[in-house]
Amino acid sequence: MIALTVNGKAYSLDVESETPLLWVIRDELGMTGTKFGCGIAQCGACTVHVDGEAVRSCSIQVGDVANKSITTIEGLSPDAKHPVQQAWLAEDVPQCGYCQSGQIMAAVAFLKEHPKPTDADIDANLTNICRCGTYVRIRSAIHRAAAQMKT
């Protein structure tokens, strides 16, 4: 049995320890906001937080995060009031939306490390892929959220 806290709730899961965290989240826990994109940690659609750090859950075994605290997109806020989510709304960032959970989770973690990011910081640190090309609005939303979180 693997003990895990997800979005503040404690679970004891009967899963094999090599199972990628992504599938535990999606299939065991039924939280489908976190997406499968590539399975090889290249696209970031599966991004969640483990003890506050952004990780690509397709490439982490659930056994390696036993007893840790996981946050998924569903757990970022109860009502989408997180400043990054609000910025995403204000800028109308998503198009198809498939990558956006991962984009938001990556952005939240990034802003913790870079609360006043420059465009160069964004370029260097945010590597989530978006096939629709929402990058311009992601950038605007990150700047908007950073300004909002400063006050």
Partner: protein, 239 residues
């Protein structure tokens, strides 16, 4: 929570749905600035027909909530917002009371293309369907006007539609759409109304918040990979 997607046709397209157990109208209300937004219902498409239909494109409940059906799919291009807007343009309704869902392909087959050409391709959604959607909204509006006029025993030309109300111009008395929808559904117009020309547009051309955005920033929008049906099994190609 798992949703059973009741459909006889498998779709590979993006499916927009809310995970809200309460019925899906609540999504837009939680966001400041979106208090006047319409919303997407609990499941991307509902039963093929519903009570309170005024026509195949829209149903109005007694409480005034309006369900508008989009004949094309949302894939991030804005269809599920734009196409209902076209219906609402003619309908003269309160946009905040609007809930949208997809039209049923099965119903389209059975009712001889009542929704027209339903493929979503080539940037052709608005271009293909705009006249049909304006006509659906205009027809519903005129039947609501006629229903109100009949109640007051006046001529429809003495009445007008505005913001989900039918108003008797001379006296200012009014009915909400919800009160008239059942009657309107049974009215046959002698002549279908002409649709508006672009210079007359009031809603089309306004930048409204997209209805799918709230579902895409909190993980609740459902995609094909998120589909769950009873007794579902999974397959993978072995190397």
């Amino acid at each position: 929570m798992n949703q059973v997607i009741k459909t006889s046709i498998t779709r590979r397209h993006f499916v927009v749905a809310s995970a809200s157990a309460a019925g899906g109208l609540a999504i837009s209300v939680a966001f400041p600035g979106l208090a006047d937004a319409a919303s997407i219902g609990a499941q991307a498409w509902g039963p093929e027909s519903t009570p309170n239909e005024v026509n195949a494109f829209l149903a109005i409940d007694p409480d005034g909530s309006i369900l508008i059906r989009s004949p094309h799919q949302e894939m991030g291009q804005g269809a599920i917002t734009a196409l209902p807007m076209i219906v609402a343009e003619e309908l003269e309704c309160d946009w905040s009371k609007v809930k949208v869902e997809y039209a049923s392909p099965a119903r389209n087959l059975r009712e001889k293309n009542v929704y027209g050409e339903m493929t979503t391709v080539g940037s052709r959604g608005v271009r293909t369907s705009w006249q049909m959607l304006l006509q659906a909204g205009a027809s519903a509006r005129e039947r609501l006007i006629t229903a109100g006029a009949q109640r007051w025993n006046v001529s429809p030309s003495d009445c007008e539609a505005s913001n989900s109300k039918i108003i008797h111009k001379a006296t200012g008395r009014s009915f909400d759409y919800g009160a008239l929808a059942a009657d309107a559904a049974n009215i046959k117009l002698d002549k279908e109304p002409a649709i508006r020309t672009p210079d007359q547009f009031k809603l089309i051309g306004k930048r409204l918040a997209r209805l799918d955005t709230p579902l895409k920033i909190n993980g609740s929008a459902k995609f094909a990979i998120d589909t769950v049906v009873p007794n579902m099994v999974y397959a993978a190609v072995s190397a």
